[in-house]
């Protein structure tokens, strides 16, 4: 007798219910000798694809199912007279989570039909408001098997000792499902007659015999292994939002994936208890096996894995013709339109590409994307293609990609070739602010039956895990908060390891023992899904059969249809996914262009800008590129300073170089040396001059590797791209080396050249960057820099409105001020909803100069926006803007109708200053207006001269209070830089300003101070963790790096303070490249307080103390360095896919035996490129982060608000 099949098994995709990943379940099933296993998650099929893949790997047949709450059939005699008494609304803590609806397990039986039925009922269940409930009307399906278990209405009646009622409740089920109905017996060793008790199981079996319905045995599995009961308790607590209560009964600990022997014993106990002979157990197991055997759903054939589904051709403009012919004619039309019709190269390339597309049958795909792009453009939304798709001429001709691939030397083969069999992907960037409009347009074009957004499971990481476990264990909320916040955003399974290893957690590690089982439970939650969100960019496009292949649920908020599968699953299912990325920079630029047009009438078309504008490149070369797309990070500013780009191609190279790969492979230095003529340009062989000439002999792009391989071996670019992909895998690398040597030798190259070239290819690995990507990136980079150079005020207005960057808004404002853009304060009579530009007369007075003649030498200033006021709603902002101008405070109050707190905030930041009186008086008037509005015909507004508000004699805000109010209300120091107030103290300390820092020598020890603008711990080549921080002190930015040896002393201060004072050593690597290596750090806010309260003596005492200064020789034991401790790679800031991939838990199951017990060495993450990463690198660090908190360091007792 072989194995037992668990028909009722949930995985972690049952949110806050299942405790094991589907992969783990499949693995365990295989280990315990089962040949089939069902996955019946609650309310979702999201785990199905992973489960199917894991089962295929483990050699187990997957069964698919779902566990749904089912509404009872409507009774004909609706007894409205009996109304359930409503419970009083709790004053605190909220109501209990209602889980009273009975739950039933559905299994797909009949292949595709069964799967389609599953998808349909899941979709139907999610249509109800609130928790998913399947309405009875939808409760049918010819391809489904139904298990009525202890949680079903029938099971509950049995538990209540009412077989008569159970029989009555069974009737409608029998009517719908007939022979496909099963009764599910579960024994978890509980006492009494409730779910999991022996008596209920026995009653179920007896009842089944009586009703002639087949019983099955299941274990209602919630976790893979024994001993995970406490995890289930925590999940229950997190789901019900209550603490774990031992008095209320804990999980039995029996709901694990038991093996066949254990289940046989269970069956025997149940049948004996039901009054049968012991060997009847075999019949129960036989029924279970037979039920499992009926459920045949094949992942390939029935789920549609591996197949591809495009929207029908008639929807994408093909009419009665085939998609391929339509595509060919549209491409040809594009040739004429873009003026390439006379160029032979273009025609040849176009035909070659069309051949490749026809070979794969992807024509509909191209037409679909083109259709979407056309629609988006038709709506007046900026759109740009990104990614390797930019390398295709057809894409360019269809209007999908802007850059001309022939001109920039981009290769189709990097995107799609005959040798490549995967789905190509074209990503499009749209304005972030209008992304949802784009989604609606796509849904409108193709219909909800073909379009769905993609889900993105949110998984437990350390902070959330601590919060949920802490709440379940009744810990003090303040403690939970403190512990959670002190962790960086790491995986939950690394919690204990992080405690031991991270210097900034040392104090927490000291009290580790106090929290008992917290850590263990936190780690066990690792990567379990805890919620589902809409993926920020993926949109599924398919044919009309989408809904029978994918369960769909509405997204919260917008109500878009969302497939339950995540982006990887979707690819496995062969669904076409179009990535529509909302790019804030596109929105910012659109806003800037709109502002220029509104204010001056000048129309700017960014897409047709002339390249090579000297002012733009001057700006880029000055490295003052804050706010410019892709080149604003500290590392990039440093690189731009060294590289000194002068052409568009330089920008492309710059963007490509600033990737972890090139930085790690040390390609930056040789490139810069060669570029500035300090080193000769070398080519491995004269034949390779052509592909490598543009980059001074240094390999930067994927396209170059493809060319090198193609030239040396003569294998063609399609094959060369396949080879290039193989390079990242160490195994295939060996094979490729032999292959390469053979073919290159056959091509007549000498051994030395082959050796040298191979070294380059090998070192390059898959590090480089796709040139098509870089070109696509460089276009908005140039456009944004152009705007910054020519329309700075509008540019800042766009940036502040759409906030695209890595820096807080206040930093952008400081940059604007530094670059001479006047910052105009908030004013209800002038400010709009979004940031605006305004002409400022050059007389210098900030009194209304709007009427100045436009031809004069007026400067454009930046008027702050109402939308930045804390707590303002869109409606309020719009109302204020619409009602302008206001004659008096009363007028403003009556017509703009702001809420009182909002009005008070506006008064605090001076937006109402025009109405006279000081800000506190204004607040008093507002309060009285508010009281008056509530009836009682309150105080008359004291008016003087009808316009001005009379003063009430309250003290005005002091200048520090005004600044504090600005920071609190706008999160920006609008009137002046916040560091200006502390200049005196900084001078006492001898702190160098950012401006004066430029004149320091290499190796000089300096003190710097400022407000923290950004903190990163990117992966760098040496595998160590380096903390990069940018400080802003009003005169400029200071880039700091803290290396391993200073972490013990500095890490906590750097992460958790907002104002920093740092001692460090100046590092120079070029005229424009400057950074400070930090040695000690202090919380400047604290020092300021000490200075105020205790004078300089106090400061001296603080500096002498252990506060920030490191011990004389820190015993930095952590010098277990990887291959090469190359600190020179300190400019390795990283964007790109590596970040997402490495930072996340990826939903991967924790390896058996928590990884946390391994030493740090083993957790060092090895990237596919063979490049090692510190386990704690590249995570969002703890602390308040760079985005300015509203909590401020100086809060005098009288601070406003």
């Amino acid at each position: 007798m072989s194995g037992f099949t668990h028909l009722h098994t949930v995985s972690g995709f049952s949110l806050r219910y299942g405790a094991s990943h589907p992969e783990r379940l499949a693995e365990r099933a295989s280990e315990r000798g089962m040949d089939a296993l069902a996955l019946t998650d609650r309310d979702t099929l999201a785990g199905s694809v992973r489960f199917a893949k894991a089962c295929a790997k483990a050699g187990v047949r997957p069964l698919f199912g779902v566990d749904l709450a089912v509404a009872p059939p409507e009774r004909p005699q609706g007894d409205a007279s009996v109304r359930r008494d409503r419970r009083r609304t709790p004053v605190r803590g909220g109501a209990f989570v209602d889980e009273s609806t009975p739950r039933v397990t559905f299994l797909a039986r009949d292949g595709a039909r069964g799967w389609g039925d599953l998808c349909r009922i899941v979709t139907a269940a999610h249509e109800s408001e609130g928790t998913p409930v399947l309405p009875w009307a939808e409760n049918h399906g010819a391809g489904l098997t139904v298990l009525l278990g202890p949680a079903s209405d029938v099971g509950r009646a049995l538990a209540a000792g009412r077989p008569d009622r159970a029989a009555k409740l069974l009737t409608p089920w029998r009517e719908v499902y007939g022979d496909a109905l099963r009764l599910e017996a579960v024994w978890h060793g509980r006492t009494g007659t409730g779910p999991g008790s022996l008596r209920l199981a026995a009653r179920t079996v007896g009842f089944a015999a009586e009703q002639r319905i087949r019983p099955v045995l299941s274990n209602a599995v919630r976790y893979a292994d024994p001993g995970q009961g406490p995890v289930a308790d925590v999940l229950d607590a997190a789901r019900r939002l209550v603490p774990v209560d031992p008095a209320k009964g804990l999980d039995s600990g029996e709901a694990w994936l038991k093996d066949a022997g254990a289940m046989l014993r269970t069956a025997e106990r149940i049948v004996e208890a039901a009054g049968y002979r012991r060997d009847t157990a075999h019949r129960l197991l036989e029924q279970t096996r037979a039920t499992a055997a009926e459920c045949l759903v094949d992942p390939e054939d029935d789920l549609g894995m591996g197949a591809v589904h495009f929207p029908e051709p008639h929807l994408v403009g093909a009419g009665h013709r085939t998609a391929q012919r339509t595509l060919a004619s549209r491409a040809a039309a594009g040739m004429v339109l873009r003026g390439h019709s006379g160029k032979r190269v273009y025609w040849e390339r176009m035909h070659r590409e069309l051949d490749i597309i026809a070979h794969h049958g992807f024509a509909s795909y191209f037409l679909t994307v083109a259709q979407v792009v056309d629609d988006v453009r038709g709506m007046g939304i900026r759109v740009a293609a990104r990614g390797s798709g930019a390398g295709s001429l057809v894409n360019h001709l269809l209007g999908i990609a802007n850059a001309d691939p022939v001109e920039h030397g981009l290769l189709m083969e990097r995107f799609l070739s005959k040798e490549r069999v995967v789905l190509p992907d074209i990503d499009i960037d749209v304005e972030s602010a209008r992304r949802l409009e784009v989604y609606r347009a796509i849904i409108g074009r193709f219909g909800t039956e073909r379009v769905a957004t993609v889900a993105m499971p949110e998984t437990y990481r350390v902070r959330h895990a601590i919060r949920d476990v802490g709440a379940a264990l009744s810990m003090d909320p303040a403690d939970i908060d403190r512990i959670a916040k002190s962790f960086p955003h790491i995986r939950a399974r690394d919690a204990r390891a992080a405690l031991e290893e991270l210097p900034e957690l040392r104090s927490l590690a000291g009290e580790k023992e106090r929290y008992g089982r917290l850590w263990e439970l936190v780690e066990s939650l690792d990567a379990l899904p805890r919620g589902v969100a809409m993926h920020p960019c993926g949109v599924l496009l398919s044919d009309a059969s989408l809904l029978s292949r994918t369960p769909v649920m509405p997204t919260s908020g917008e109500g878009f249809p969302m497939a339950q599968f995540d982006k990887d699953d979707v690819e496995d299912l062969g669904l076409l996914k179009l990535d529509v990325l909302g790019v804030r920079m596109q929105s910012a630029m659109a806003h800037a262009v709109g502002e220029v047009e509104r204010a001056t009438g000048e129309r700017i078309d960014l897409d047709t800008l002339k390249g090579g504008d000297p002012a733009t490149y001057r700006l880029i070369r000055s490295a003052e590129t804050l706010g410019c797309f892709q080149i604003e990070s500290p590392g990039q500013r440093d690189l731009v300073g060294r590289l000194q780009p002068a052409t568009f191609h330089d920008l492309v190279v710059d963007i490509s170089l600033f990737r972890p790969g090139p930085v790690a492979a040390d390609m930056v230095r040789p490139f810069i040396e060669a570029r500035h003529g300090r080193a000769p340009v070398r080519y491995p062989h004269p034949d390779l001059t052509e592909p490598l000439r543009d980059t001074y002999g240094v390999v930067v792009f994927h396209e170059q590797i493809i060319d090198i391989v193609a030239v040396m071996t003569g294998c063609g670019r399609g094959e060369a791209d396949r080879v290039r992909r193989g390079l990242s895998d160490p195994e295939s690398q060996g094979r490729i080396k032999v292959w390469f040597a053979q073919h290159a030798a056959a091509g007549g190259y000498d051994a030395e050249t082959i050796q040298r070239t191979w070294e380059i290819i090998e070192a390059f690995g898959s590090y480089g960057f796709c040139k098509a990507h870089a070109v696509a990136f460089a276009v908005p980079t140039y456009q944004s820099a152009w705007l910054k150079a020519h329309h700075p005020a509008a540019f800042y207005a766009g940036l502040l409105t759409h906030d695209p960057g890595m820096y807080p808004k206040r930093l952008l404002l400081a940059d604007a001020r530094r670059r001479g853009v006047p910052v105009l304060p908030l004013d209800v009579n002038r400010s709009a909803v979004a940031h605006r530009i305004e002409l400022v007369s050059d007389s210098g007075s900030d009194s209304s100069g709007a009427g100045a003649d436009p031809s004069g030498s007026g400067v454009w200033g930046l008027r702050l926006a109402l939308s930045d006021v804390y707590g303002i709603t869109e409606a309020e902002a719009a109302r204020i803007a619409d009602g302008q101008p206001y004659a008096s405070l009363l007028d403003f109050w009556e017509r703009a109708r702001p809420s009182r707190p909002l009005a008070a905030r506006l008064a605090q930041v001076g937006a109402l200053d025009a109405f006279g009186a000081n800000r506190r008086d204004l607040q008093l008037h507002l309060t009285e207006l508010h009281r008056g509005a509530r009836g009682a015909g309150g105080g008359q507004l004291p008016l003087a001269g009808g316009r001005k508000t009379t003063p009430a004699g309250l003290p005005d805000l002091s200048s520090a209070e005004k600044l504090s109010a600005e920071l609190g209300v706008l999160s920006m120091d609008a009137s002046r830089h916040l560091m200006d107030d502390h200049r005196g103290f900084l001078d006492e300390l001898g702190v160098l300003s950012a401006r004066r820092l430029r004149d320091t020598r290499h190796g000089e020890t300096v003190l710097v101070a400022g407000a923290k603008a950004a903190t990163q711990t990117p992966p760098i080549r040496s595998g160590k963790r380096v903390i990069f921080t940018t400080l802003d002190d009003g005169t400029g930015l200071v880039d700091l790096a803290f290396f391993d040896d200073s972490h013990d002393a500095c890490a906590h201060t750097v992460f958790h303070s907002w104002l920093l004072l740092v001692r460090g050593v100046v590092q120079r690597r070029g005229p424009r490249s400057l950074s400070v290596v930090g040695a000690a750090a202090w919380n400047l806010a604290e020092l300021l307080e000490v200075r105020r309260d205790e004078g300089l003596e106090g400061v001296a005492a603080r500096l002498a103390g252990p506060g920030g200064a490191p011990d004389a020789d820190t015993s930095n034991a952590d010098t277990s360095n990887a291959d090469t401790p190359d600190a020179g790679a300190s400019d390795a800031g990283v964007d790109g896919p590596a970040r997402g991939r490495l930072a996340g838990s990826d939903g991967l199951p924790a390896p058996a035996g928590s990884a946390a017990r391994d030493a740090g060495e083993q957790r060092r993450i090895r990237m596919p490129t063979g490049y090692e990463m510190h386990p704690w690198a590249d995570l969002r660090p703890a602390g308040e982060g760079p985005a300015v908190g509203r909590k401020l360091w100086h809060q005098s007792p009288g601070s406003a608000g």
Binding site: R88, P1197, G1198
Partner: protein
């Protein structure tokens, strides 16, 4: 310089010790006003001449005696009026009496935060701080009309006077208004209504017993529920008639609790407070024809006597015994 404000540093707000300490003050002056739970005001106008010592010197004597007789330390503030004495108390430490000089009240107050002023609670202080009136000096110079607009006509006038050092208060002897309180903490976040009710039953029983022991009745019952996040909900209800009858208190406590409708709130403690206490012999009691009420009260009387003899745990409701 004749009014002292004394705060005894009682261990864990042990209200029972206060009367004895008040007796100590009464050895110096008959004009003593209790400020429960742990303070008192004493008017030493006559005592200064009688003992031939200044108020500050007498303060030292009082401290020494309190320590010697009761083992209780105290902090003392001195001033020309009750208000200034109370403000002065904030600046005092054990052994250091903070004294406000006669005629220097205004200057003394100028630097103090507004909350230092008796009668200014958190709400008023928040309002004043919002308008930049964070110190009493600023309040003093603000126009009276503005203050009245801020906090109301009467409160504004009083605030204005007090901030300017005008102290109209007097020490009123025997103005003891006291309350009794008890608290039932839970070891973990408790959501179970049964256990909440059990805590209420036991707390109400205790309050009743304590009230009857001192022959008082209470008019108002206040329920405070403390939550895990250190916040709390407070509800008060006035009883139908002043009483010390445990059953009546329990009924009212249950009513207060039910009105909260708590479901998922993480309760860490339940506190009951009997307020507006009065002497039991002046309380009226509505008689009924229902003999049960009479019997219950008789049983309670007996139970009280049993407890007096065998300790407070000797008799208790069945639900609490389980």
């Amino acid at each position: 310089m004749t009014i002292l404000c004394v705060r005894f540093q009682l261990p864990s707000a042990d209200e029972a010790a206060l009367p004895a300490l008040l007796g100590l003050l009464e050895e110096f002056t008959p004009v003593v006003e209790a400020l429960p739970p742990d303070g008192a005001l004493a008017d030493l106008r006559g005592a200064e001449r009688y003992f031939g010592r200044s108020a500050v010197e007498l303060a030292s004597v009082i401290r020494v005696r309190a320590l010697a007789l009761h083992g209780v330390d105290c902090v003392i503030g001195a001033g020309p009026g009750p208000m200034s004495a109370r403000v002065a108390l904030r600046g005092a430490r054990p052994g250091v009496t903070c004294a406000v000089p006669e005629g220097g009240v205004r200057e003394f107050l100028a630097e103090k935060p507004v909350v230092a002023l008796p009668g200014v609670g958190t709400a008023t202080a928040r309002t004043l701080c919002e308008y930049g009136l964070d110190t009493l000096g600023r309040v003093a110079v603000a126009p009276l009309s503005t203050l009245q607009r801020l906090v109301g006509a009467k409160a504004g006038r009083e605030l204005h006077e007090k901030a300017n050092g005008v102290d109209r208060g007097r020490v009123v002897p025997n103005a003891v208004s006291r309350s009794l309180a008890t608290e039932r903490p839970f070891g973990r976040d408790e959501l179970d209504p049964d256990r909440h009710r059990r805590a209420l039953l036991s707390a109400a029983g205790e309050l009743g017993a304590r009230l009857r022991a001192v022959e008082k009745v209470c008019r108002t019952l206040t329920l405070t529920v403390r939550y895990a996040d250190r916040s709390a909900t407070t509800r008060s209800r006035t009883l139908g008639e002043p009483t010390a009858h445990s059953a009546a208190l329990t009924r009212t406590a249950y009513g207060l609790y039910e009105a909260l409708g708590l479901q998922r709130a993480r309760v860490r403690a339940i506190a009951l407070r009997a307020e507006a206490l009065g002497p039991a012999d002046q309380a009226s009691h509505q008689l009924t024809f229902d003999p049960v009420d009479e019997k219950v009260r008789r049983i309670e009387e007996v139970a009280d006597r049993v407890r007096a003899k065998f300790g407070p745990q000797a008799v208790k409701p069945g639900t609490l015994a389980a």
